[in-house]
């Protein structure tokens, strides 16, 4: 493993004191720039730190991202937490132990090699001892620039063996650990009223808004801060100077917030006020949601070489010279929702001239300057602290609600304010997962080998995360900024030139192909679209792995042998063989009504975890309903840090992707998102959940590989391949909803 990979995020943040601190009571504080999103990163970090420092995991407290104190790891995304943060912490702890032992040697008068460590107590042969707390009282004052030796594999007690999720019991018990439940002293609650459609402007006059706000009571008197100069303090405070709990309205252009001491009052008042506001303008073109329209709206096309976009103009389409036959197919997926179960929430507090924002954002370091720009504050005066939230699965409303809370906190300084989006807000305003279409063509020779491969992916943007745009640009990726009195502009999507970024993630197949041409065509979206778990890899792998089955059929080969014959990487072959072995083959036991089984494989971003999935489906011919009964997962993620955590991520990815594949589709109308509740946007339910079996191919001497997003693409293709095996119908457009499946079955007759 190279030094760069062993150091992980230490390359960005070499200051050891940022990563590890010893507290007087013997607690070991380890800090990370990676957010706990439900992926269990805190547990993996605890396991590694416990091993490297030689302390019991119970002594360790993991502190999450916070600007100014935690290491800056930019963002928690791309299945990178293990590769970047856990690797960094392993080295940081190794360096910390090295320094602590050197200090102990001096203090105890014994050479380092004669010292032993037991749960944070260093002992010399003569029985003298010193605790980490004593030895670590002074800062390390050390920069980690070179990796050093770590605890040998055989001596690891936690890493590779696992420990129970350190954060889960408190969450199950309903303890107040989510940002949604953060109850700071003096906390007020606000709700922001979103427009009825994107781009609409509030036409309610200030005076009318004041009257409407006044009518929001009983039980409390209302006040309105339509103009900051017009604040009526008598309404906000009772005669004894204590807050009277009045409902308060804050307006900035088309951003309207209701503020109250109690959350219930804020919710009830917001619902009442929403019915009375008037809006004009705005709207979208819903036709742009249809994946079939993408090809006609391409704005730029880039050649993809070795996974990365290059400046070159794409080469002309392949001729498939020498092929005995050429196979072509087009696949697509619609717009989807992240669909967090907990609508986005944040707390903000302007205390003196410092603004603190508590958020479940994936990127506090990007959010901080983004907020500062919109609020016109210097970034040094903004502190952004991560607090756990509901699973986000990518760029959802987390950052936007942080701005909502910050706007209210700045308009009403002195007390912290909490904002949570409604379900309607979350479905209607979170950045959606983009629609994509993939055109594939391949040549096969007489022996049934692939001679040439062409992949054209058409994709709406995957990158709309907020980021700083520079002072005075008045551009921002944060939702409410576009609706202020002095509005900001919505930025153009991030350029997608990086390695396996956005729409071309996993567009470059992992197979050995003599000739390949891969092109990424970028297409604008009718609503904001952004990163969703596995980004373009979901559609690209769905397409590639469905197509590989189609090619195997055309070549007269079987899906396993055909894949193995085109994979030079032994680890890839072994993952496929393991999944098929775990399933007991690709033929389901049973007679005429036997369910279908399908296989699919991918290596995430061609450099991260290897995953193969076998799906078993039952297709109800009369209704067209597809039921995923079972799935078998095999994965090689290199060295496994937390076996159960890894399995949990892979399994969750399969179930979530099964939901996308079988059920989900965002529908748009002129007013934007139409399915704004769970009834109109159904997701997989408990009674539809498959039985799962997982096999991990642990490779302790290899570097760990990111896996959190690696199972989604293979799942979609494995299901589609299973439907084909069960029915003979090849369905290339997601979702595999009953109406579409029934139509495909009818077409076979």
């Amino acid at each position: 493993m190279s030094d760069r990979l062993r150091l992980g995020s230490l390359a960005l943040e070499p200051d050891l004191d940022r990563w590890v601190a010893l507290e007087p009571d013997g607690t070991v504080v380890v800090r990370t720039g990676k957010a706990e999103l439900g992926q269990g990163i805190r547990t993996a970090l605890t396991a590694v730190a416990a091993d490297e420092l030689g302390v019991d995991p119970a002594r360790i407290r993991v502190e999450g991202p916070a600007t100014g104190t935690a290491p800056n790891e930019l963002i928690t995304a791309g299945s990178g937490s293990i590769e970047q943060s856990v690797m960094a912490l392993r080295q940081a702890c190794a360096h910390a132990r090295h320094i602590l032992l050197a200090r102990a040697a001096e203090r105890l008068g014994a050479p380092v090699q004669e010292l032993s460590v037991d749960d944070g107590t260093v002992r010399a042969p003569d029985g003298a001892s010193a605790s980490y707390a004593e030895l670590g009282a002074e800062p390390f004052d050390h920069r980690v620039t070179e990796p050093i030796e770590t605890v040998p594999i055989s001596a690891r007690r936690w890493s590779g063996h696992g420990l129970p999720r350190v954060d889960l019991t408190a969450k199950i018990r309903g303890e107040p650990v989510f940002v949604h439940d953060l109850r700071l002293p003096g906390l007020r609650h606000a709700r922001v009223l979103r427009p009825p459609r994107p781009g609409a402007r509030l036409t309610t006059a200030d005076a009318e808004l004041r009257d409407l706000a006044a009518a929001l009571g009983p039980p409390e008197r209302a006040r309105t801060g339509v103009d900051d100069s017009d604040v009526d303090d008598r309404g906000a405070r009772g005669s004894d100077g204590e807050p009277a709990g009045g409902v308060d309205v804050v307006r900035d252009g088309s951003v309207v917030a209701v503020v109250a001491d109690r959350e219930g009052d804020a919710v009830v008042a917001a619902e009442a006020l929403a019915r009375s506001l008037t809006w004009e303008g705005g709207g979208i073109d819903p036709a742009l949601a249809d994946p079939a329209t993408l090809e006609a709206r391409v704005t730029s096309s880039t050649a993809i070489v070795d996974g990365a976009a290059v400046e070159d103009r794409p080469a002309p389409p392949l001729e498939h010279t020498g092929a005995a036959q050429v196979v072509r197919a087009r696949y697509s997926k619609p717009l989807l929702l992240h669909g967090s179960i907990g609508p986005s929430a944040a707390v903000a507090h302007l205390d003196g001239d410092e603004l603190t924002v508590w958020t479940h954002s994936q990127g506090v370091e990007l959010l901080r300057p983004s907020l500062a720009e919109v609020l016109g504050l210097p970034a040094e005066r903004v502190r952004v602290v991560h607090v756990d939230g509901a699973g986000c699965y990518g760029h959802n409303g987390a950052d936007d609600v942080a701005l909502d809370a910050a706007l209210v906190a700045v308009a009403r300084p002195g007390r912290p304010v909490a904002v949570q989006w409604s379900r309607d807000d979350e479905h209607g305003w979170e950045p959606a997962a983009p629609a994509m279409a993939v055109d594939l063509e391949a040549g096969l020779d007489e022996q049934g080998c692939i001679t040439s491969w062409q992949h054209d992916v058409y994709s709406q943007p995957h990158g709309a995360r907020p980021r700083p745009h520079g002072e005075g640009t008045r551009t921002s990726g944060l939702l409410a900024s576009w609706y202020r009195e002095q509005p900001f502009e919505q930025p153009a999507p991030w350029p997608v030139r990086g390695f396996h970024s956005g729409g071309h993630r996993n567009a470059d197949p992992y197979y050995d192909l003599p000739v390949r041409r891969v092109v990424h065509h970028q297409v604008p979206a009718p609503v904001r679209t952004s990163s969703t778990r596995s980004l373009g890899a979901f559609a690209n792998v769905f397409a590639i792995e469905s197509f590989v089955d189609e090619l195997a059929l055309a070549a007269g080969s079987d899906p396993v042998a055909f894949r193995l014959a085109h994979l030079g990487d032994r680890r890839a072959r072994e993952v496929i063989e393991a999944a098929v072995d775990l399933a007991g083959g690709l033929v389901a036991p049973g007679g005429l009504d036997a369910p279908g089984r399908g296989l699919a494989f991918a290596r995430y971003e061609n450099v991260k975890a290897y995953v193969a999935v076998v799906a078993e489906v039952e297709v109800v011919a009369r209704t067209g309903e597809v039921r995923l009964r079972r799935a078998w997962i095999a994965a090689d993620a290199g060295e496994v840090i937390d076996p159960d955590g890894l399995a949990n991520q892979l399994e969750g990815g399969v179930v979530q992707a099964a939901s996308w594949t079988l059920k989900e589709q965002l529908e748009l109308g002129p007013d934007g998102v139409r399915n704004r509740d769970w009834e109109s946007y159904p997701i997989l339910r408990f009674s539809e959940a498959p039985l799962l079996e997982t096999r991990l191919l642990d490779r302790p001497s290899e570097r760990p590989l990111g896996a959190g997003e690696a199972s989604t693409g293979p799942t979609a293709a494995a299901i589609a391949n299973a439907v084909h095996q069960a029915t003979g119908a090849r369905i290339r457009d997601l979702p595999l909803r009953p109406d579409r499946v029934r139509r495909a079955l009818t077409d076979l007759l």
Partner: protein
């Protein structure tokens, strides 16, 4: 001022309008185990017991509550609560866990019955809940373990 609400064995004064959903009244009392998820009884995040009945607290107006309310904060310390929490935590049956407090209330309710639910009843009860992390297979395994019935 305010409305009396019997919750977790004590009577509390709730300074809210009678049409306020019970969920918000509970959260304003600092009982935040019940969580807002959809406001329409479609996700189960806000589940509590009213009397012996599991209900979506987002759908019940404070003024319509006529039986004592039990939230997860109190239910976890009952024998059934401990069984359910231990089973869920024991196999890491969850990822982000935002849905789990509501699910725990449903499972504790089932665990209090004299006869364990069969598989169909268990699925019907859990279909009132949504999980987006894809932990359903593990949650089902933990539920069967805690309830001692159904398919193992």
């Amino acid at each position: 001022m305010g409305l009396p609400l019997e919750v977790n064995g004590a009577t509390r004064e709730v300074p809210a309008r009678p049409d306020t959903p019970l969920l918000w009244a509970l959260r304003d009392l600092g009982l935040t185990a019940a969580k807002y998820g959809c406001g329409a009884d479609r996700c189960g995040s806000c589940r509590v017991l009213v009397g012996d009945a599991p209900v979506a607290s987002c759908q019940v107006a404070l003024g319509d509550v006529t039986a004592p309310v039990s939230t997860l904060e109190a239910l976890v310390d009952t024998p059934e609560g401990e069984r359910v929490v231990t089973a869920l935590a024991g196999i890491n049956a969850g990822q982000c866990a935002y849905c789990l407090p509501g699910i725990a209330v449903t499972l504790i309710h089932l665990a209090r019955r004299t006869s364990p639910p069969d598989e169909e009843e268990l699925l019907r009860a859990l279909d009132a809940h949504l999980c987006r992390c894809g932990s359903q297979p593990r949650i089902l395994r933990a539920a069967r373990q805690a309830l001692g019935g159904g398919r193992q």
